[in-house]
């Protein structure tokens, strides 16, 4: 079970999913954010500040990427180009519990 979850695709997917959800909420409910203070940027030739709506644009994109990673890990537990290595990895992990000091 742990070995199954310890798939880098699941890990990346999980983190990006959490980030995506948090950012989407932050974009839709901007009142939970601090007040934006543009003082430091007042000499800028172009006003670059993109606004809090950008949070949910990026949040939704991250959710999309996260879902892709998780689906990939679920639908293809073992990658096409790793022949016979996954079983070896599993047995190593089991031995690891006994051997580690």
């Amino acid at each position: 079970m742990l070995a199954r979850l310890f798939d880098i695709r699941t890990i990346v997917g999980a983190l990006l999913l959490i980030y995506g959800v948090v950012l989407t909420i932050a974009g839709l409910v901007p009142s939970i954010l601090g007040h934006h203070d543009g003082q430091a940027a007042k000499n800028d030739r172009v006003d670059l500040y993109v606004g809090t709506d950008a949070n949910w644009w990026v949040g939704l994109a991250l959710i999309g990427v996260a879902v892709t990673f998780i689906l990939w890990a679920v639908l293809r537990p073992h990658l096409a180009d790793e022949v016979g290595t996954s079983s070896a990895a599993g047995s190593d992990a089991e031995q690891g519990d006994g051997v580690r000091s």
Binding site: I18, A26, A40, D44, D81, G96
Partner: protein
Amino acid sequence: MLHLNVSALDYVLIAIYFVFVLGIGYVARSQIASSLDFFLSGRRLPAWVTGIAFVSANLGAVEIMGMSANGAQIGLATMHYYWIGAVPAMLFLGVVMMPFYYGSKVRSVPEFMRRRFGPGAHLVNAISFAVAQILIAGVNLFLLATVIDALLGWSKWVSLVVAAAIVLTYTALGGLSAAIYNEVLQFFVILAALVPLTVFGLIKVGGWSGLRDKVIPTATSDGSVTATAHEQLTTWPGQALSGFTNPVWSVIGIVFGLGFVLSFGYWTTNFVEVQRAMASHSMSAARRAPIIGSLPKMLIPFVVVVPGMIAAAAIGDMIHLKSTGSGTVTYNDAMLLMIRDILPNGLLGVAVAGLIASFMAGMAANISAFNTVLSYDIWQQYVVKDRPDRYYIRVGRYATVVATVLAVFTALIASGYSNLMDYLQTLFGFFNAPLFATFILGMFWKGMTATAGWVGLVAGTLSAVTVFILSKVGIVNLPGQGMPFLAAAAAFIVDIVLSVLVSLVTAPAPREELVGFVYSETQVSILSDPDDAGKSWYLRPVPLAAVLLALVIVLNAVFH
């Protein structure tokens, strides 16, 4: 000035990241049964993971801040570091050199050196590499502390010690697997910040054409212009980068110095990166790792160099610095200013988490390469031999602790240098350019002897140091970043010439010892792999490399 308006939500995002980082270290620990698991992830990772780690190990914050600084200062010429420098070298590593590294089953680049040239060259290589890793890890740590201080207002010592403790925890627990998994994670988090930053920045300045119109010349404090607006919008002949006034010499300096010598030396012999590829599960995967990595590598400058250019065209403090040569910010702040001025709270947290992540991943990459070389190449080879395998895992864990403590002290030394890129490249020039000369000659010429191996390395490194000293005392004068190119070229030529001369008067190793290490003595197929048959082109190293080479040539042509 750089201080960010961080909200509670941003800290939540940063905290979530730390939970993941430490969690990876904890879980990776259960997969370690042998020293090979600890130092090389048991050689069982798929190519796309080692490929991303290959790039990500180098995509530290030093790179992100240094290259956006270059973008702000000299503009598109910075692309040469990627398109002439890194990418061709990575493809060369995958196609030509990886069959020797992976096929000979060595566990590190210095070990290849020992098996090919014996202990002389091995000691020079292993010790210089180990020292360099500590130095670079220290630079990373110092920068992290400086940036966190500027952005969040934390005490430098607190962030320095906390970051070092986190890196120590997960690399000591999980070994290379933990380092690699965190590199892959860091890669996606930093992209989640950099891609939106670049897109929003470009929209705000009016797209690519709006940016082109707003680029201003780079001046020094005495009023002389070091990079005109036109120079910043073209990549060739890149005089602002190389510092040569003659355009022909500038092109030669960039192609030979930066491309062929400096970058090939760095990317093909630097164990930090090569170690990632060596952790792959098969020869084909090990060869594809740097080849797959070259795709993100050729696209990364669009979200690193371009934001630097936007900063220099739009942000008041940076424009002031660029037109007068002085001000309250430095070029290294370009990316931080972009984060400050563009991103709202929320995305700000992702960006800060990404920056901290890239500092830590960069440092972990150096430390994990260091502990492998120290344990396998120095300790097991010369100090305590023939102990059970488990003993060397413990050595690796202690080496990780020692390396982290030394890096914290090195962080203090790093504070004396202002221009990070120049400093790091100085190091690369000293260590890597002669290495590439020795490796490539040793791999393809069986007559090269053990004595030639170490003599070439030492003389090459010394000639790089000589060029460095000559430029410091003003005898050689290159105003741009051309000095490391010249030092690397000198090291390469001196190494090749001396290696050939010494080989002619000393006796080569017996042929049976060269099997696996020299082309003519090895059953190695560079143009195909035995397990290639019946696979799609993107699963075969050579066709994949050919497609990516074509792509980088197109990029060079489009942005000339």
